[in-house]
Symmetry: C2
Subunit: 411 residues, 2 copies
């Protein structure tokens, strides 16, 4: 894409009320726009990143047998009264209407998915099954100051699984956990599966997937030898103590950001809605359910928190809006200018996603914008580079002169 055709520009300043580094950088670089605290719009560059994260999530969920759906966001009050959420979930937006009916705005979708799935899955032969959606959620947050880490509206993947038995649920959970860790790795993140409390309705332990980052809102204790990790709120041990799990390591404290979670819902929702399936013995049973969340917009924010420097964002290749940022630092009609056009055409023909900065602005502005936007490979063509291309990785200071052929070896 030609940068002159992109309607967004880099901005000198983020809004004064914007405290979070992720939103400051994403706004200044033209990825997002702030409508108000907790609500952001995604601009062409930002939407490209969001789509990439979304597709990575989708591929992982499909790989473990999840079936994609899209559930309504407006729910009748009755569904949330049935489960107790109407009065107990403080972040639930309640929407009045002209017909004097009240609606809930989905902050999660157990209330919608349970009746939906059990209309179609009626016997044990239909189980296990897992459905998921990648859809917007709403939460009435008192404070929304973490940029896209914690929004009043946000994009989330929520999967729900339905099982005959607890054992079958446990098996699926292990599969989902593995798939989550693989997903985060593909996005350039290392996440720890952390024991946490079960939330509003469950006495059970749930798991949160945590990425260690100073911008994190959670405190975790983790073992420096084994995989053990626990939210500090429910830890029975203190930092400095020997890990109870492996008996070898020592517990450390860290700030972390939640990028996913999984809840064992047991048979709560089947019971609440009085919905059952027919088991092998021809008896009516409530399904054992699990819920598996991944914050998609939140992941975008966490990646920026983790990958940036004083000049701007440093996107991991897997989610970058483009793979290469080609800068033409020459008169369009000069030999170098024409070479830049040619390199752009080559990259397009080779299916390399490239943003081509062919604007008539200063070299300094182009370099500053490239650093702020943070595409992994910066390619410069100027009078000085002759028949070659000056190649620099965003996460390195090293600059190399390369032929197009050599460049293609690394892209």
């Amino acid at each position: 894409m030609k940068q002159s055709e992109l309607f967004t520009k880099t901005l000198r300043e983020a809004p004064k009320d914007e405290e979070a580094v992720n939103a400051q950088l994403l706004i200044r670089a033209g990825f997002i726009n702030k409508t108000m605290a907790g609500s952001y719009s995604f601009l062409p560059l930002g939407l490209r990143v969001l789509n990439k994260i979304e597709n990575a999530v989708r591929n992982e969920m499909n790989a473990i047998g999840g079936q994609e759906i899209l559930m309504s966001m407006l729910h009748p009050k009755a569904l949330w009264e049935t489960t107790g959420g109407w009065n107990n979930i403080d972040v639930l937006f309640k929407v009045p209407s002209r017909t004097e009916k009240e609606y809930a705005l989905a902050q999660s979708a157990e209330e919608a998915v349970t009746p939906l799935v059990l209309k179609h899955a009626t016997t044990y032969k239909d189980l296990p099954l897992a459905v998921y959606q990648i859809h917007w959620k709403f939460r009435d947050e008192l404070r929304a100051k973490s940029g896209i880490l914690r929004g009043r509206e946000f994009l989330m993947k929520d999967m729900y699984s339905f099982h005959e038995t607890q054992a079958d649920f446990d098996k699926f959970y292990a599969k989902a956990k593995k798939s989550y860790l693989k997903l985060y790795k593909s996005l350039g993140l290392t996440a720890k599966a952390t024991e946490a409390s079960g939330g509003a309705f469950s006495q059970k332990i749930s798991y949160e997937f945590m990425v260690l980052t100073d911008a994190g809102e959670d405190d975790i204790f983790y073992c420096d030898k084994c995989e053990f990790c626990v939210n500090s709120e429910i830890s029975k041990q203190n930092i400095g103590e020997k890990c109870q799990k492996c008996g070898k390591g020592v517990l450390h404290r860290a700030k972390a950001s939640e990028v996913g979670n999984v809840f064992d819902l047991s048979d709560k929702y089947g019971k609440d809605f009085k919905l059952t399936f027919l088991d092998k013995n021809n008896e009516r049973k409530h399904p054992i359910m699990g819920c598996y969340g991944v914050g998609v917009t939140r992941l975008m924010g966490v990646i920026v928190e983790k990958y940036h420097d004083e000049k701007g964002i440093i996107w991991p290749e897997s989610v970058s809006p483009f793979k290469a940022h080609l800068l033409r630092l020459a008169d369009p009609k000069s030999k170098a200018g024409k070479l830049a056009d040619k390199i752009y055409a080559y990259l397009l023909a080779d299916n390399i996603e490239v943003l081509y900065d062919e604007r008539t602005v200063s070299a300094g502005q182009k370099f500053a914008d490239a650093d702020l936007i943070g595409i992994p490979w910066r390619l410069v063509v100027s009078e000085k580079t002759g028949a070659k291309i000056e190649v620099k990785a965003r996460n390195s200071k090293k600059v190399n002169l390369m032929s197009y052929g050599s460049l293609r070896q690394i892209l």
Copy 2:
């Protein structure tokens, strides 16, 4: 995809309160699920159709230079007060919050897009520009009885264009109109550009794109000789009269469904928000704006209203969830059963989207489901078909025995 792996089943009956044919068929065939009147969830088959319509819309908008974005759905009250919408738009959902702030739920996005775009487009050099989103909207409908034709939440493509002059807007409008007619045609629909009133805020004539269908909520008068078409509400002529435009044809009345619209917003939103760009003479000017809508979920409903018979849906190929529906009417271990498996593998290898009904249910059930689901090509492999495949188009009664090679000529 194997049909046994699809969690949805066809249902004998739609909910009793479901009056609309589109929703009745889509629910029974397992494309959608009703959360409540006006709010539906999209199940795997339905999501496939929605994605296809969405991509057709996206391609057309990209082709005329639209840049895709995704805007927040929660807006601060102040934005809608500035434009007068807070008190004047009766379908606007107003959402209270714990912080005592009130929010509007986007029913359209002029209020969000105007400040957003004019933050980046600051001079005449940045114009014209057009941004669009394919995103969910909310409307507080008093009655929501038309299935997915008129929902309380619905997926819509809304594009907004920004121009220096009225003349430049007119030029872009002509381009958009052409692109709309092309889009509808690609979806199997013939739409008429109909003159209508300008809506809540505009004195100007707007255009609605209407598909003639008995399920339509609008009355239109159209000329049987030329392209003239007008909403009956604002028509200055009556049916039976000679068309004032071409002077040759006669006006007829028809029921129609709106599948898109375009509004000339003039400089209203720039004025309301006191936002300007710098023109060629270095003077501050409000941009001339246009708004261009396409109802994406509505289109899905209109297609079903137009393309169905007493047995079920008849999808146009361009939006069908699958191109072919392969039915195995034989024991899996028999020769015919194994041939069906082989045909399925061939189709997958040839990148033909195919739903494979390999379930152990009766032939009658499989035929009935195939008719209800409405995939364009039904392929049957049974003991009777020998080495060949029985091929039937959903919109025809003719049945042909074909080799796989001949089948590939028509798929």
